[in-house]
Every structure is written in structure tokens, then in C-alpha cells.
């Protein structure tokens, strides 16, 4: 047997040959991934620097690309972040797995330090030129401008044509790629979907963009609150494997094992140590220094701690967008009829802290949002839109398991609901389990699907109050119409067959109005009750907020735009006219409360309603 030479390759070599694994599997995805990685980096940098992000995106076609049926595309992303120090530029854009965030357990968009280097590699492979970067930090008088390329053989970033230039901004980064690709604007995997999705879950972002053959567009920020990304927490011992457990000890030098367990891990207290001892672990072992422990010692401690019940990991490390910010951001999706938002309390799924937030909005633009088609699903992981492979995603699976019919939406069996709705679900966690390296699909574990499902159910319940109220308004409308239309026809027909006199006919007409008027009044009562229940629900949130109940986060009700008609009053008048008798109006209807209450289906009512069920 001939001996074959074993060679080793650099990380960059691996990725340069497997770019499809990190989002460069097609021409259209190449453009989207390059944009996405650049914007993610820009947003992370701004948030790390405590700055409100202003990001500008410019995409243009330069001509034919080098690959068959590809265009040559220029993608430029600029931010107002703190900038990158000149010495770090090569590593950030040209070296794989060079990241300030790798394994830190924070809810940042980028995690491993692969994406932007992959974009540079793609530019290098398809256009023989890396990324053009301009960067300026507050310590720099002039900006640095250079081409960054990946030294594929050694997985190193290389700066070329470095120069210092005057730049008309205090700090920031501009990165420009010229790549082969194809531009897809619309559809779930389109650039617009990405940009709108990013705007939805980043209310503090001002986004300017220019797409080919279009003018510059600006989406202004709707929140001035910079999300505070919580610091990382120590790892939970139940989430570690033996090898990780031993390697973790090396970070602590000479320290007693018991102290290492308490300081190096979360949820390990003195009580926990006592429990471990009680379970049979020798005290002497815990008194040893960690650097003196042998592998069997570690194994013993590891096994003992795995068998000791500990508190679930802390949820402090997750970040929320917040219902208020999400509510404001929903209006960026287009003309919204009404919507509900839910921010769940952070929880633990699969031993990882997770925060789920949901926005469900009914849209008015029937051209863009077809009432007969499935709802538009927007998925987000750590505030980054997910645009591919949706069928296997935990978010889609959760949407399919909710019985939306109970909330007034149509839904084919085991499928997403139908209608002109947007269902946006954001999952935030320092340890999101993606199904692939390109981070397109969240793994559908049972616990995570259940948590998302609960958020969706809460959102659906809130939404259904609006829908039910509409249905009742429509029912009342139809009943009144029926009385007007059919009563005379029925009575006249009966009288013709029986040859009844005019006086009998008149009496019968009065009788039928009395009978059916009772039905209509019942319908009117139902409608009022539906309205009052909705108002009570919303107002109860406002009361809690006023009383400073901290369990309830920022709950209030605001009507951005109200209906043109006051349907209960109109209905009562119409009924009175039919029956020629005044019909009593409830106090609220008389006082004009109905202004907020009735929303016939075809009436444009923008309700801005939200509450805090998830926090309760």
C-alpha cells in the first residue's frame, strides 16, 4: 500500500473551498450575505461603542461579472460606529475566526468571525480584489484606507495600497466589495426583505439605502434608546462537556477547586458545593488546587456536579427589543391596520437563556399582502433576518402548531395561516442553535418551539379581540340589512298567499320588526361587550403602568388613527329608524367611546395597542 502524504490546510483554505456553507451558495445569496455581514458588523460595532447607528447601504450594478450569467456588483456599507484601529483592520476583514465575540456568550449578531472574511474571500475569488476599507477611530486624525485581502494559505489578512486620507466624519467604517452576483430585490430572500426586516428589529437604527435604478431611501429611527447588550455570564456546568470543563479550569490558574466552581460557573453556590459533598465527593478533592488536579479528579468532580440539581442558567444575558420599540417599528412595515406585540419573559430552553418576541400585524396593502395567501413570516435570530430554509426553522414550526382559526384567521391543516398578515418572530439568545454555518435556520428543539408557540398564542389572543369585534360589527350590519331587505318581502308574500287585508299586513309588518329587532339588539349588545372587553383589556395595562407595577413593562394604549364611523351609534339609529322606536344606547356609546371601538372590516383603523402578558 502506497503511503499518501498527509497535508494540513488553513481555516481560510477550508472556507475558500466551501463558501456555500457560509451563505455563498448562489449568486443571489452571495449579494445578500455580503450585505448582511457588513450591516451586522456595523450594527454590532455601534452598539458596542454606545452609539445610535446610522448605516448607509449602496448597491449598484457595474456590468457583467466574471462568472457565467453573473453581474458585477458593488456593495458599500458605511456606519458611524467607533471605527476599527488600523492594526486590526486586516484581522477583522481578512482573517477567519478572528472575532471579539467568539464564545463570549453575548447576544451579538456576529459570533464566530467568519462571515465578513468569507465576503472578502468571495470578492477576491470572483473579482481578484478584496474589500476596500476606510476606518477612523476617535484617536485618529486621519482615516486609514486600504484594500484587505485574505492570505488563504496562512489565514491572515493582508492590507494593500494602504494610505491615510481625510474623511468627513469623526468615526466610522466604510467597507466596499465588488463581487459577482445577482440582485434579487423582492421575495422572502430579497434585499428589500432584509432591509425592512433589519429596520423592524432595530428601531434605533437610521438606515439609508440606494438600490440599483432607485433613489436614496431613508428609514428614520423610531427609538433613541441604544440597546444595552447584557454582559456575558459564567457558563453553567450542566451545559458543558468534560473536555470543556477541564479546559475551563486552565483559565483560573492556582485556585482551590471549590473556589473555582463557585467563581468560574454560574449557579454554583456554597449550598451546591455542600450538596456535591453530600452526594459522596471527597472534600479533599475540592480543597486541591485546580492546576494540581489530574484527569480522573476532574472526571469525578464533573460527574458529581452533573448529578447535583442546580438552578437553571441565568437569563440576564439576553437582550430584548421591547414591546414599545417593536410596536413603533411595526409601522415601518407599511400600512398597518392593527397589530399586537408580545415580549415574553426571558426563559431557559435547552439550558440556554432565550428571549422570544412576536409582532403580528394586519396589513392594508392587499397587493403586497394577498388575503388568500399564507401570511408573511419574518424570522429573526439575534436581530438578524433569516431569509432561507424556512420550512425546517423552529419559528415556522411554532407558527404551524398554533391554532390560528381560534383567533379568526384562516389556516389550512398543519400549515401557516392565511391572510394579509405579517408574523414577525425574534429569538434572541447568546447561544442560538443554528442548523447550518450560514445561520439561516434555527434548530427546532421541542422546548424552543413551545416557547415561541406561547408567544404566538399570546399575540393571537390579543389580535383576536380586534378580529372578533370586527366580526360582531359585520354581523350586526348584516342583521340590520336583512331586516330592511327581507321583512317586507316575507310579509307581502305571506299576505298574497293568504289574501290578507292591508290592516293585517301592517300588523304583521310591525310584529316582524319587533321580533327581528330583538335579534339586532342582541347583536348590538354583543358588539358593545366585545368593544368593552377590548377596552378593559387595554386600559387595565395602562392602570398597571401608572401604578408603577414593575412586573408590567411599558404597557399603554394609543390610537394613532380612529375610524370614520361610530358604528354602534349608527346601528342604534338605524335600528330605531327601522322599528320607529328609539333604541337605548349604552353610556359609553353616547359618550362617543365608540369612536375607539368599532372597526368594520373595510374601515381603516390603526390601533396601537399593546400589553405585557408575557411579563406577568
Amino acid at each position: 500500500m502506497a503511503t499518501q502524504k498527509i497535508t494540513s490546510s488553513s481555516t481560510a483554505e477550508y472556507f475558500s473551498k466551501n463558501l456555500q456553507q457560509v451563505g455563498f451558495s448562489s449568486q443571489t445569496k452571495a449579494v445578500l450575505t455580503t450585505l448582511k455581514e457588513s450591516v451586522d458588523n456595523a450594527l454590532d460595532a455601534c452598539e458596542d461603542g454606545g452609539l445610535l447607528p446610522e448605516v448607509s447601504v449602496e448597491i449598484e450594478k457595474l456590468g457583467a461579472g466574471s462568472l457565467k450569467s453573473a453581474d458585477k456588483i458593488r456593495i458599500k456599507v458605511e456606519d458611524n460606529g467607533p471605527g476599527i484601529h488600523a492594526d486590526m483592520i486586516a484581522a477583522v476583514f481578512g482573517e477567519y475566526l478572528a472575532s471579539s465575540k467568539f464564545g463570549r456568550g453575548r447576544c451579538s449578531r456576529g459570533q464566530q468571525g467568519i462571515g465578513i472574511s468569507a465576503a472578502t474571500t468571495w470578492a477576491q475569488l470572483t473579482n481578484a480584489q478584496g474589500a476596500l476599507v476606510i476606518s477612523k477611530t476617535k484617536d485618529m486624525r486621519k482615516a486609514v484606507k486600504a484594500f484587505v485581502e485574505v492570505d488563504i494559505k496562512h489565514n491572515k489578512g493582508v492590507l494593500k495600497n494602504r494610505e491615510t486620507i481625510d474623511w468627513d466624519r469623526p468615526t466610522g467604517v466604510s467597507v466596499e466589495f465588488v463581487i459577482d452576483g445577482r440582485i434579487m430585490l423582492n421575495g422572502e430572500g430579497g434585499l428589500l426583505s432584509y432591509l425592512n426586516g433589519t429596520a423592524l428589529v432595530n428601531p434605533h437604527l437610521t438606515l439609508k439605502y440606494k438600490l440599483p435604478d432607485e433613489e436614496w431611501q431613508t428609514i428614520e429611527r423610531v427609538s433613541n434608546v441604544i440597546p444595552q447588550i447584557p454582559g456575558a455570564t459564567e457558563p453553567h456546568p450542566h451545559t458543558m462537556k468534560l473536555g470543556e470543563f477541564i479546559a475551563h479550569s486552565h483559565l483560573f490558574g492556582r485556585m482551590k477547586a471549590s473556589a473555582w466552581l463557585r467563581k468560574g460557573f454560574s449557579r454554583v453556590s456554597d449550598g451546591s458545593i455542600a450538596e456535591i459533598k453530600k452526594a459522596g465527593l471527597k472534600s479533599s478533592l475540592l480543597e486541591k488546587h485546580v492546576d494540581a488536579l489530574a484527569e480522573p479528579d476532574f472526571r469525578g468532580i464533573y460527574t458529581a456536579i452533573q448529578n447535583t440539581p442546580l438552578m437553571a442558567p441565568s437569563t440576564r444575558s439576553v437582550l430584548t427589543i421591547g414591546e414599545e420599540a417593536l410596536s413603533k417599528a411595526v409601522s415601518r412595515l407599511g400600512s398597518v391596520d392593527f397589530f399586537s406585540v408580545v415580549t415574553r419573559k426571558p426563559t431557559i430552553c435547552d439550558f440556554k437563556p432565550v428571549e422570544v418576541e412576536v409582532a403580528v400585524a394586519r396589513m392594508l396593502d392587499s397587493k403586497q399582502y394577498d388575503p388568500e395567501s399564507g401570511v408573511t413570516v419574518l424570522r429573526f435570530a439575534n436581530r438578524v433576518p433569516l431569509q432561507f430554509d424556512k420550512s425546517a426553522c423552529a419559528i415556522v414550526k411554532a407558527i404551524e402548531t398554533v391554532n390560528w382559526r381560534a383567533y379568526g384567521l384562516q389556516q389550512p391543516k398543519d400549515s401557516i395561516p392565511l391572510g394579509p398578515y405579517v408574523v414577525a418572530v425574534s429569538v434572541v439568545s447568546p447561544f442560538i442553535k443554528f442548523k447550518n454555518a450560514s445561520k439561516e435556520t434555527i434548530d427546532a428543539s421541542d422546548e424552543l418551539v413551545e416557547e415561541i408557540r406561547r408567544a404566538l398564542i399570546q399575540a393571537g389572543q390579543r389580535l383576536s379581540r380586534h378580529i372578533r369585534r370586527e366580526e360582531k360589527a359585520n354581523a350586526l350590519e348584516e342583521k340590520l340589512r336583512y331586516i330592511e331587505q327581507f321583512c317586507p318581502i316575507l310579509v307581502e308574500g305571506i299576505c298574497r298567499i293568504t289574501k290578507a287585508s292591508d290592516s293585517r299586513k301592517k300588523k304583521a309588518e310591525e310584529g316582524i320588526i319587533k321580533i327581528l329587532g330583538r335579534d339586532a339588539r342582541e347583536a348590538e349588545k354583543d358588539l358593545k361587550e366585545a368593544h368593552e372587553s377590548l377596552e378593559e383589556h387595554l386600559e387595565s395595562g395602562a392602570v398597571k403602568r401608572a401604578s408603577g407595577d414593575e412586573d408590567v413593562i411599558d404597557t399603554h394604549m394609543e390610537h394613532l388613527k380612529v375610524g370614520k364611523q361610530e358604528a354602534p351609534r349608527a346601528a342604534a339609529k338605524r335600528l330605531a329608524k327601522i322599528s320607529e322606536k328609539p333604541v337605548a344606547l349604552s353610556k359609553s356609546a353616547k359618550a362617543g367611546k365608540s369612536k375607539k371601538s368599532v372597526t368594520p372590516a373595510n374601515q381603516e383603523v390603526f390601533d396601537f395597542a399593546k400589553s405585557a402578558g408575557g411579563r406577568k
Binding site: 327581507f486 305571506i494 293568504t498 304583521a508 310591525e510 316582524i512 327581528l516 339586532a520
Partner: protein, 382 residues
């Protein structure tokens, strides 16, 4: 049989409308009760011989939800009363267009407009349920499908609307059959010489073949083609032959669940959907001649398994299982022979067609006839 009385329906209609009017004058909600025509309200007694309605009623109360239906019913009632008055007859489809025409010429009636024929058909059925009558009594007839009858010995006397009588000697019709009407109550039957039996054949084509090959020349018999599920015309005609001629009657059809439940049971005992008219549209004396399960072995008939993609037959098998549990006809011990056939079909999941008799001796065109006559003689029927 209910007396054929042209005044009956107008009277029932007027009474109904008067009740409605009186209730309305008193601002009282009118309530209409109609017989529930469903299997769970069907009763079967072998003494009566057909499915009869139980005590369950469908209650229709006037309210905002039912006012449209009620208005449409009164409107359609006026149309059919006019037909009864003038003697005009129509099919359901024609009534649909008549109603559309009335609405077109009177804009006030626009809210009553029917979007499609199903809607007007439902209203006609609703009127029948309210008045507890047949659609034929409303002068609304179905197409006279099936029932083509051949005999050398049968004479039919029909009383025309003007009182004149038409006498039809079936032996004088040559190769043409006699076609019964949906309302056979106006017919009087007589025999030129004693008729030994009447044979109702499921397939119209096979009935024609038997006659063309000389069945009615060699036997004093009546041959009738059912043409699948028997129409009201076929059912009423079979009832008439049974009542007036009192001759033994046999049904010859396929051995499968669909034939047993949808064709033979309907012919013999009526259906759950027509509980209120089964008395006039069923012939309880008719026997199931075959194909019987034992015939397959005896005559080495070609049978074959029920195909999974044969939706009608698969559905019929499912229904057969349900029928054995819930259908009072198949549950009655007098019909245990018929129930046994359903059990056999469910167990074996095989079927055999009536035309399989032609395979017994392919060169003898009279072989099916010989088998049929032999089975009748030997009493091989259920």
C-alpha cells in the same frame, strides 16, 4: 298512498302561511317543524316493509338568520302554487330560471336572488319538508330516467289530465320499451295473460340484451332496466307493479356494496333522505336474485378485488360497515340474508358484475337467461 288532490298543496300552503301571519301579528316568533329525513330518524318494520320516519323534527324558527331562507321559501311557494293552479310542470332547474326571471322583472325582490341552482333546490326541498309532501306534488318533476319496461303481456292505461284515457299494450311497441313517469299513480295496469314474474335489471343495457335475445318471448315476464340508482319514476313504477299485479319481483344486479345499499335497498325499502315518500316509492316484495356470493363458485364467475383507487366502491364498503351497525333495514332479522351479503363483501373485499353470467358459456347468448330462470325456479334468491 296519499290522495292525488290538486287542492291539497294549496290548502297546506295557505294553512302554513296563515299560521305564520297570525304569529307575526302577535309579534310571536313563528316556528316551523319538519320531519327529519336522516338515518337516525329512520325506522324499519318488516310488516310495513319500508323505512318510515321517526318522531324527530327539524325546528326552524324565524329569526334574523332564517328570515332570508323563509322569504325565499314563501317566494318559491308562490311560484309552485301558480304552477299547480295552471297545471304547468317544471324541473328544478327550470324553477331556478323562473325564479331568476321573476327577480329580474321585480327589482324589489333582488335580495332573494339565487347565486346557483343548489340554492333554489334547497328551498324547494325546504318547502317539501315544511309541507311534508313530495316535489312531484308541487308539479316539480325530475327527468324520467330509467325504468324502460318490456313485456308481451302487460297493458297500461293512463288517465290524462283532461280525463281521457290512453291504453298502451306493451306487446305492440315493437322493440321500443314503455317509459314510466315520475308520477305513476295515474297509471292502471292489467295483464293479457298471467305474468309469472317481474325482473328489474340494474344495467339498462343488460335488460335490453335479455329482451333482444327473446326473454319476454319465451317467458311471461316483465323486464325493467333500473339504470343504476333508481329514480322516483323507477321506484314508483316498481311499487305500482307490485301493488296492482301482485307478481313475484326480482332484482338482478352486481354483487357489490354500492348496489346492495344504494340501488337494491332504495328500491325495496326506500332511502333515509326520502323518508316521507318511501310509502309511495318502494317495493318491499322485491327479492335479490343475484349475483349472490355463492354464484361465483357455482358458475365459476369472474370476480375481482375492490380497487383501492375506486373511490365509490371504497366509500360504499365503509358505508356498509356503518349500515350493519346503524341501518334499521339491515339490522332487522328478516333481512339477515342481505346483511350476510354485506358481511361477505366487507370480509372478502371482492365484487362481481351481473354481466359475468355471460362468461359461463360465451357461445350461448341465452345462458344468462337460463341461469336467471333456473335461480327463480330453485328459489336461489334472498
Amino acid at each position: 298512498m296519499r290522495p292525488s288532490n290538486d287542492d291539497l298543496i294549496p290548502k297546506l300552503s295557505k294553512d302554513l302561511c296563515l299560521r305564520l301571519l297570525e304569529d307575526l301579528e302577535k309579534a310571536r316568533r313563528p316556528v316551523l317543524l319538519a320531519t327529519k329525513c336522516a338515518l337516525d330518524n329512520a325506522k324499519y318494520s318488516p310488516k310495513v316493509g319500508y323505512l318510515t320516519p321517526g318522531s324527530k323534527k327539524v325546528r326552524t324558527e324565524l329569526n334574523v338568520s332564517s328570515v332570508k331562507k323563509m322569504s325565499r321559501a314563501v317566494f318559491m311557494l308562490e311560484v309552485v302554487l301558480r304552477n299547480i293552479d295552471t297545471g304547468a310542470v317544471n324541473t328544478k332547474r327550470e324553477l331556478y330560471y323562473i325564479a331568476k326571471g321573476e327577480i329580474k322583472h321585480n327589482p324589489k325582490l333582488k335580495p332573494l336572488d339565487f347565486a346557483d341552482q343548489n340554492e333554489s333546490d334547497d328551498i324547494i326541498d325546504f318547502i317539501c319538508e315544511m309541507l311534508e309532501c313530495y316535489r312531484e306534488e308541487l308539479n316539480c318533476y325530475a327527468n324520467d330516467r330509467g325504468g324502460q319496461t318490456y313485456s308481451q303481456d302487460l297493458v297500461v292505461t293512463e288517465t290524462m289530465t283532461d280525463g281521457t284515457k290512453a291504453v298502451i299494450d306493451l306487446s305492440k311497441l315493437g322493440t321500443s320499451p314503455f317509459q314510466p313517469k315520475n308520477r305513476p299513480q295515474n297509471l292502471k295496469l292489467s295483464m293479457k295473460k298471467k305474468i309469472d314474474f317481474a325482473l328489474i335489471v340494474e344495467s339498462e343495457g343488460t335488460a335490453n340484451t335479455l329482451v333482444a335475445n327473446g326473454f319476454t318471448r319465451r317467458h311471461n315476464a316483465i323486464i325493467m332496466g333500473a339504470q343504476g340508482v333508481p329514480s322516483n319514476a323507477v321506484r314508483g313504477w316498481a311499487k305500482l307493479i307490485q301493488d296492482q299485479l301482485k307478481v313475484p319481483m326480482y332484482f338482478f344486479g352486481d354483487l357489490d356494496a354500492y348496489t346492495m345499499q344504494n340501488i337494491f335497498r332504495t328500491l325495496k325499502a326506500g332511502s333515509a333522505a326520502s323518508l316521507i315518500r318511501n310509502s309511495d316509492y318502494s317495493a318491499p316484495d322485491v327479492k335479490f336474485l343475484g349475483v349472490l356470493p355463492e354464484d361465483i363458485k357455482k358458475y365459476e364467475l369472474n370476480d375481482y378485488p375492490v380497487k383501492e383507487n375506486d373511490a365509490q366502491e371504497v366509500r360504499a364498503l365503509k358505508k356498509a360497515d356503518d349500515a350493519l351497525k346503524n341501518d334499521p333495514f339491515f339490522q332487522d332479522r328478516r333481512n339477515k340474508g342481505l346483511a350476510a351479503i354485506l358481511h361477505w363483501l366487507l370480509k372478502n373485499k371482492r365484487r362481481c358484475e351481473q354481466q359475468a353470467y355471460f362468461s359461463v358459456n360465451p357461445r350461448d347468448p341465452q345462458m344468462p337467461e337460463k341461469i336467471i330462470v333456473d335461480k327463480i325456479k330453485k328459489g336461489e334468491f334472498v
